[in-house]
C-alpha cells in the first residue's frame, strides 16, 4: 500500500465518521441528561429526507438544512413528550420513532416525487459542496504526483463540505458546554441525580427538554449531511444503521465528548476499510470478510459493555422518568 492509498482511506474515514460523530454527540447530550435515545437513527433518517426534499424544491441547501433540523426536532419533541411529560418508556418511544421515520420518509417521498421513495438528485446550490483550501490540488492525478505533505493537505484536509468542519468544531464546543458552563453542570447532574437538581430549584423537565432539543438539532445536521453532502439526494433507509453505530460509539466513548470523536473515527475507519477489501488483503496478507468488518463496531461494543475491557457506566438516572415529590 502506498502513501496515497493511506490518505485516501483516511479521507473516506473522515467522510464516513462525520454523521456518526454528530449523532453520537446528539446521543451524548440526551443520555447525559438521563434520557435514553435509541431513536437517533430515525431522527437522522427524517432529517436526511426533509433536507434533500426541501433543498430540491427550493434550490437552497440552507433551507433544506433548516427543514431537516425541524423534522428531527419534531421527533425529539415526540420523544420528549413521551418520556419526559408522560413518563413513558424511553426505549419503546425510541423504537416507535425509528419506525415512524422509516415509514413516513418513504410515504412522503412517494407522494411528493413519485420516484420509488427517493428524492431527485441534488446538484449545485442544492448540496453542501466541497470546500477547496487555497492552493489545494483537486484532481486525483495531480495529488498522486505531489509530495506527501501536499497529499495530506489536498486530499485529507481540504475538499470536505462545510458540515465536516462544523462537526469537528462541535466536539470542543460540546466539551466546553458540558464541563465549563453552568448549564452543562446542571445537565450532567440531571442525568445522575435529578432529585438533587430539583431541590436546588432548577427545573428537571426544562433541562431534559433542552437536552432532547440539542440532540434533535445535532441529529438533524447529521441527517442533512447524509443526503446533501455525503450523497446527492435521499434514498430509502439511507441512514443504514448509523444511528445504532453512533449509539455503540457513545458507549465506547463512555459518554465523553473527546472520546466520542475517537470512537466515531475508529468506526468510520472500519466503514472505510469495508469499502476497500483489496487494501486489507494487501496489508495483512489475508482476506478479511467484509461482514466481519461491518459487524466489528457492534462486537466491540458488546465486549466493552460486558466490562472485559474497561467498564462503561452509563449516567445513573438514565432511562428513569423523574417524578416530582408531592
Amino acid at each position: 500500500m502506498d502513501f496515497f492509498t493511506l490518505i485516501q482511506i483516511l479521507d473516506a474515514t473522515v467522510r464516513l465518521a462525520i454523521p456518526l460523530l454528530l449523532a453520537c454527540l446528539a446521543g451524548l447530550f440526551s443520555e447525559r441528561a438521563g434520557i435514553f435515545d435509541i431513536g437517533l437513527e430515525g431522527k437522522m433518517l427524517a432529517a436526511a429526507f426533509f433536507s434533500a426534499a426541501i433543498a430540491s424544491m427550493t434550490g437552497s441547501v440552507w433551507i433544506g438544512l433548516l427543514a431537516g433540523i425541524a423534522a428531527s426536532l419534531f421527533l425529539s419533541g415526540v420523544h420528549g413528550l413521551a418520556s419526559i411529560t408522560f413518563r413513558g418508556n424511553q426505549l419503546i418511544s425510541g423504537v416507535a420513532i425509528n419506525f415512524l421515520a422509516a415509514g413516513m420518509t418513504v410515504l412522503i417521498a412517494q407522494s411528493w416525487f413519485s420516484q420509488g421513495g427517493r428524492t431527485p438528485s441534488l446538484s449545485g446550490a442544492e448540496r453542501f459542496n466541497p470546500i477547496n483550501f487555497p492552493g489545494a490540488l483537486t484532481t486525483t492525478n495531480e495529488v498522486k504526483a505531489a509530495s506527501p505533505l501536499m497529499q495530506v493537505y489536498s486530499e485529507l484536509l481540504s475538499g470536505h463540505s462545510l458540515l465536516v468542519y462544523f462537526a469537528l468544531l462541535t466536539v470542543p464546543m460540546t466539551w466546553w458546554l458540558l464541563y465549563r458552563t453552568r448549564f452543562g453542570l446542571r445537565l450532567r447532574a440531571v442525568g445522575e441525580n435529578p432529585a438533587a437538581v430539583d431541590t436546588a430549584g432548577v427545573s428537571v423537565v426544562g433541562l431534559r427538554y433542552a437536552a432532547v432539543a440539542i440532540c434533535g438539532i445535532l441529529c438533524g445536521i447529521a441527517g442533512a449531511y447524509l443526503s446533501t453532502a455525503l450523497q446527492a439526494g435521499f434514498v430509502k433507509d439511507m441512514s443504514a444503521g448509523r444511528g445504532f453505530i453512533a449509539l455503540a460509539a457513545l458507549i465506547f466513548a463512555k459518554w465523553r465528548p473527546w472520546h466520542a470523536l475517537y470512537a466515531t473515527f475508529l468506526f468510520g475507519l472500519f466503514q472505510a476499510l469495508e469499502l476497500r477489501p483489496d487494501v486489507i488483503e494487501a496489508v495483512i496478507g489475508m482476506k478479511i470478510q467484509g461482514q466481519f468488518l461491518g459487524a466489528l463496531p457492534y462486537i466491540m461494543t458488546v465486549v466493552i459493555l460486558a466490562g472485559f475491557v474497561g467498564k462503561a457506566i452509563p449516567p445513573r438516572a438514565g432511562g428513569e422518568p423523574y417524578v416530582k415529590e408531592r
Binding site: N89, A96, M104, L107, V302
Partner: protein
C-alpha cells in the same frame, strides 16, 4: 390502589390507544392524497375477502404470534428483548441446517427437529445478552440491538460463503428436500371438505403458534416459574428478598424469549420459502414489539394483535398493489401503535384515571 376497574385497564386503554393510532393513520393517508375509507375497504377485501387473503393474513399472523410471545415473556420479567429480529434470523439458520443436513423420513419429524434447532439457535442468541445483563450488568436493550446487527452479518456470511450451493448467484441455501415440505392450510382442510386457497402460504406452523400461545399462558400464570418471572418483573428487590435469583430469572426468561423468536423460522423459512434467504425475517422481530404492547403481554392479546397485524400486512401489500400507497404505510401504522400503546400509554391513562376517580367520588 386500583384507580380503574379491570375491564377499563384491559380493554378501554388499549382500545383508545388503538383508536388514536388508527385516526392518525387515516390522517396520514389523507395527507398523501388518498381516501382512507376506500383504502380500508381495499385492505379488508384483500386480506379477509377470500381464503387466499386469509391464507396470507394467517401466515403473517403466525410470524407475529411467535415474535409477540417472545417479547411478552421478556416483558413479564421487565426485560426489553429488542433482539427478536436477530434471534429469528438465527432460528432460520437452525431450520436450514435441520432441513438440509438431516434426512427426515416425514415432515412431522422434520418439523419437530426444526422446532428444536430453531428454538435452540434463537435461545443461544438471546442467552448471551441475558448472561451479560445478569452477570456483567450490560444493558440488555443495547446488547440485543447489537446482536441483531451481528446476526445479520453472521447470516450474510453463512449464506454467501458457506451454505450457498455451488454455481448459484443469489445468497440463499439450496431448496429443502420434498420430505420436509410442510402441509399448508389447503392440505390440512381439504380432507375435511373445506376448500382453502392452494396458493396461500399459511401452514401447519399456525397450529404450532397457537399451541405456543397456550403453553406460554400456562407457563406465566400456572407454574411456579411463571410466578417467579412475574414477581421479578414487578419488583426486583421484593423478588430477591423472596429468594428468587435475578440471574436465574433473567437467563430463563430470555432463553424462552429467544427460543420463541427463533421458532418463527419454521413458518417463514420451512413453511413458506422452503429455503433460507437473506432478510427472511422481514422485520417480523420488531413487529413482535408492537404485538406484545398491544396484546398487553397476554397470550390471548398477542394472538388477537398478531392477527390484526397479519391483516395490516396483507392488506398493506394489497394497497401497494392496487393504489399508489407504498407498503411502508404499515411501518407507519406499526410505529403509531407502538407509540400510543407503549410510550404514550400514560397520555391515555392519566385522563381516564381522573375520570374514574371523579365517578367513584360521585358514587359515594
Amino acid at each position: 390502589m386500583d384507580v380503574m376497574p379491570k375491564w377499563a385497564e384491559v380493554v378501554l386503554v388499549p382500545l383508545i390507544s388503538l383508536l388514536l393510532a388508527a385516526i392518525l393513520s387515516g390522517l396520514v393517508i389523507l395527507a398523501i392524497g388518498e381516501d382512507p375509507i376506500a383504502a380500508l375497504k381495499l385492505m379488508i377485501d384483500g386480506a379477509l375477502g377470500s381464503t387466499y387473503g386469509w391464507g396470507y393474513t394467517l401466515y403473517y399472523a403466525t410470524n407475529f404470534m411467535f415474535t409477540g410471545l417472545a417479547v411478552s415473556v421478556a416483558f413479564h420479567a421487565r426485560l426489553f428483548n429488542i433482539g427478536g429480529e436477530g434471534q429469528a434470523m438465527l432460528g432460520g439458520l437452525g431450520v436450514a441446517l435441520a432441513c438440509l443436513f438431516i434426512p427426515w423420513p416425514h415432515w412431522s419429524l422434520g418439523l419437530l427437529g426444526a422446532i428444536v434447532l430453531a428454538g435452540a439457535f434463537g435461545a443461544i442468541w438471546a442467552a448471551v445478552p441475558a448472561y451479560l445483563q445478569a452477570k456483567r450488568g450490560s444493558h440488555i436493550v443495547i446488547t440485543t440491538i447489537m446482536f441483531n446487527f451481528i446476526a445479520a452479518a453472521v447470516l450474510n456470511y453463512m449464506l454467501v460463503n458457506v451454505l450457498r450451493p455451488q454455481g448459484a448467484m443469489d445468497p440463499a441455501t439450496a431448496r429443502f428436500p420434498e420430505a420436509v415440505h410442510l402441509p399448508t392450510l389447503h392440505d390440512i382442510l381439504a380432507p375435511i371438505g373445506i376448500s382453502f386457497s392452494k396458493a396461500a402460504p399459511a401452514n401447519v406452523s399456525l397450529l404450532v403458534a397457537i399451541i405456543a400461545c397456550v403453553l406460554v399462558w400456562l407457563l406465566i400464570w400456572r407454574t411456579k416459574l411463571g410466578y417467579e418471572i412475574r414477581a421479578y418483573g414487578h419488583s426486583e428487590s421484593a423478588a430477591k428478598y423472596a429468594g428468587i435469583s435475578p440471574v436465574k430469572i433473567t437467563m430463563i426468561a430470555m432463553t424462552i424469549s429467544g427460543a420463541l423468536a427463533g421458532m418463527m423460522a419454521i413458518n417463514n423459512v420451512m413453511g413458506e420459502a422452503e429455503r433460507l434467504v437473506l432478510n427472511a425475517t422481514e422485520g417480523a422481530g420488531f413487529i413482535g414489539i408492537a404485538v406484545a404492547l398491544m396484546g398487553r403481554s397476554h397470550p390471548l392479546g398477542v394472538f388477537i394483535a398478531a392477527i390484526l397485524f397479519g391483516f395490516l400486512y396483507q392488506g398493506g401489500a394489497e394497497l401497494a398493489l392496487w393504489t399508489s400507497i407504498p407498503r411502508e404505510l404499515i411501518v407507519v401504522i406499526q410505529a403509531l401503535v407502538i407509540l400510543f400503546t407503549g410510550a404514550l400509554d400514560n397520555m391515555v391513562r392519566m385522563p381516564l384515571e381522573r375520570i374514574f376517580l371523579a365517578l367513584r367520588k360521585g358514587g359515594n
